[in-house]
């Protein structure tokens, strides 16, 4: 994986396969604490404590056709390389929360990469699932919630090309505004 957004895509696909109807993705940067925290929370089928333990092991997968599962171990390794770490909270029948903490300025921290494409891939491929994306930088935040989009769209599916291109522009513009706020009035 060359960027964190690809790890996010990969781990969020696990939420999709866990039968989640809502997946929350939060990216929080705290420059003073030099921390970048990524949380992926779902309301899917959850895991037993034993499964939580095993999912961090590269030689475990729920698949029956092969014996390796690298998604979570890759994400964990990426976090640990920067002096951070990965934790999983999960409850059977309730859902799972995966949290990865990164040393923000560590030379080993991968760039966040193209989160817009990750979200468009998730929304486009799973139009029946809701995704709530929150990005926070030093306390300021932006949010894109497909439940809100869905309410406006009524019966037009989220994966209609024109809708996806709107969501893409919405994400790009709001992210840009968050990262480069307009100067304050004097």
């Amino acid at each position: 994986m060359q960027e964190l957004s690809l790890n996010v895509l990969d781990v969020a696909e696990n939420s999709v396969r866990a039968g989640a109807s809502l997946v929350e993705i939060t990216i929080e940067e705290d420059t003073a604490a030099d921390r970048l925290t990524i949380t992926i929370t779902d309301n899917g089928c959850g895991m037993t404590p034993e499964q939580v333990e095993r999912v961090q092991d590269p030689f475990f997968t729920t698949r029956t056709t092969r014996r390796v599962g690298l998604g979570v171990p890759f994400f964990k390794m990426a976090a640990e390389l920067t002096g951070g770490g990965l934790t999983i909270r999960s409850q059977v029948g309730k859902g799972t929360a995966v949290t990865a903490v990164f040393g923000r300025s560590s030379v080993d921290r991968m760039p966040l990469g193209d989160m817009t494409q990750t979200l468009l891939t998730l929304i486009g491929g799973n139009p029946e699932i809701d995704f709530d994306y929150i990005r926070i930088l030093d306390g300021r935040r932006m949010e894109a919630d497909t439940r809100q989009f869905r309410q406006v769209l009524e019966d037009i599916p989220l994966n209609t090309p024109q809708v996806l291109s709107f969501i893409g522009e919405y994400l790009e513009e709001n992210t840009k505004e968050l990262l480069n706020p307009p100067p304050c009035e004097p």
Partner: protein, 123 residues
Amino acid sequence: MKSLAELQALRDQMKNKIGIRHDSDTNIRVVVGMATCGIAAGARPVLQAFTEEVAKRNLTHVSVQQTGCIGICQYEPVVEVYAPDQEKVTYVKVTPEMVPTIVTNHIVNGTPVTEYTIGASGK
């Protein structure tokens, strides 16, 4: 700044239009492998390229879908094309640059791009 009001305008505009995709037997399906192996090998920009190309050409009978690991991780990104009355075609080590050719030759004109398929790989 994009706002929800703009989305509302888009909805009203689209409500009066036909052309929303319907699943039927005459559809062509493009399936991109999006498991860890695919993603790590670069499947996300390939998927994006297919989605954009299909939207650009307004191919309403084509649906671009995602799937898990197809089982040939060393050949990722892997893309399968299912057209009615045709055998499945498997493209391997696909890059976004190959996508316009696959869409034009195979999906629009019905001729698979043999040199990008798994049959041609490694020869």
